[in-house]
Symmetry: C2
Subunit: 243 residues, 2 copies
């Protein structure tokens, strides 16, 4: 037995998120089905996180246990030939037998993308459309304010299942290139819907519907209703996982 | 009555091409359905060309006849709010009553896109994946050779319905940017599958499976089987229509 770490990339549009669930096809299930066809046995795949329905991933990490004679190079080609075009395996390497894709993750980076101006059906699959350019400086003031360690409960969905809602954000910045705006955030972990609510709050700040210092009152009051909207999932991508 | 020229943009993945047909949803039908919901009456939409199933368009042109009091600005917003996200109306302007989106088109530009190297599910919806970079110089020698006026019958599908198979190509070039390669072609008209077969022949040249001067023998013999493969539709985009 050896443990392998897979790097996969997927367009999440067609999937009900990562994790296997009764209603709807998920990325995990699709990957396990293809692995079963390739290897002739059912293998459990353990992912680095549960991404929501419709969320994409540029570099999603997951681990599997497999036989020692597992043919690594043939494996990549074979698995990609069985997977649908919206899921690709990018890399596969052996890790320590006790390595865990989820528990050993030290941090993750997410990117929320928006585009401004003329409608573009090639963008609208992956980015939120905005009529007007928001104020980027105001957005970045908000982003600076949420850096560090805070209780992010008011920036998460009440349906969350975890007890400890304290997280540390090490990077949060809004970048602009041509008419594309990206909200980029790195932290040691994220609560349910946390990135989408933070991006929604940053957008509300950029559109001058909220004050750039609104985070002070939100952190203090722990009141979800004072933060911005939960932006839609389709414009969110898990960019990278750090170990 | 006035005639309006619409510029639309669409991701063709989900559609059986432009033209209304009995088996499968088309872009024309989807547009006519949304127009009917908006205007309360069935309006015929005349397109600039029939794009194949799965082909995309950055700037597709079509005309409609509508009432003189037709509200142009409200129309764009209203129509886009009714259309699915993979079709957008970009522009709408009045043209002469005898203007025809198809017959008045003087030329069209198509782009066939490919990417090289690591699989990328965000590219694979719109670009053909290549393992290795082909020889761009060889490809451009082939592209130079097909410029001008020729009988393109051997570069078209035998299911074509037109009699006159002579077309004029004014621009044909392969460009490369990072790991993305585009085959860009402009001409006064294109036969059924012509762009996909020319791109397939250019690719075969770049992979040294065909000689850069193969067009000489293909034009002379009029033998479709001497040209390259018909590349898949999903990586083809109608870029622009010229009037």
């Amino acid at each position: 037995m050896k443990r392998m770490l897979l790097t996969i990339s997927y367009d999440g549009t067609a999937y009900h998120g990562w994790q296997v669930q009764p209603n709807g096809i998920t990325v995990q299930q699709t990957l396990q089905d293809s692995l079963e066809r390739l290897l002739g046995e059912r293998i459990d795949v353990t992912g680095c996180s549960r991404t929501d329905a419709g969320v994409h991933a540029r570099r999603f990490m997951c681990h599997i246990n497999c036989a020692d004679n597992f043919p690594e190079t043939a494996f990549l080609k074979g698995l990609n030939s069985l997977l649908p075009n919206d899921i690709s395996v990018i890399d596969c390497k052996q890790v320590a037998p006790d390595f865990h894709a989820r528990y050993d993750a030290k941090g993750k980076k997410y990117i929320y993308s928006m585009y401004v101006g003329e409608l573009n059906p090639f963008y609208s699959r992956y980015m939120l459309h905005l009529e007007k350019m928001p104020d980027i400086d105001l957005m970045n003031k908000f982003c600076q304010g949420i850096l560090g360690t805070h209780d992010f409960a008011p920036f998460s969905c009440s349906k969350r299942t975890v007890e400890d809602t304290v997280r540390t954000i090490t990077e949060c910045i809004v970048k602009i290139k041509d008419n594309i705006l990206t909200f980029e955030i790195t932290g040691n972990g994220f609560l349910y819907n946390m990135v989408r609510i933070l991006a929604g709050t940053a957008l509300a700040v950029g559109q001058q519907r909220l004050n750039p210092k609104c985070y002070e009152e939100i952190f203090e009051s722990r009141d979800r209703s004072k933060a911005g909207d939960t932006l839609p999932a389709f414009a969110l991508i898990l960019d990278e996982v750090y170990y």
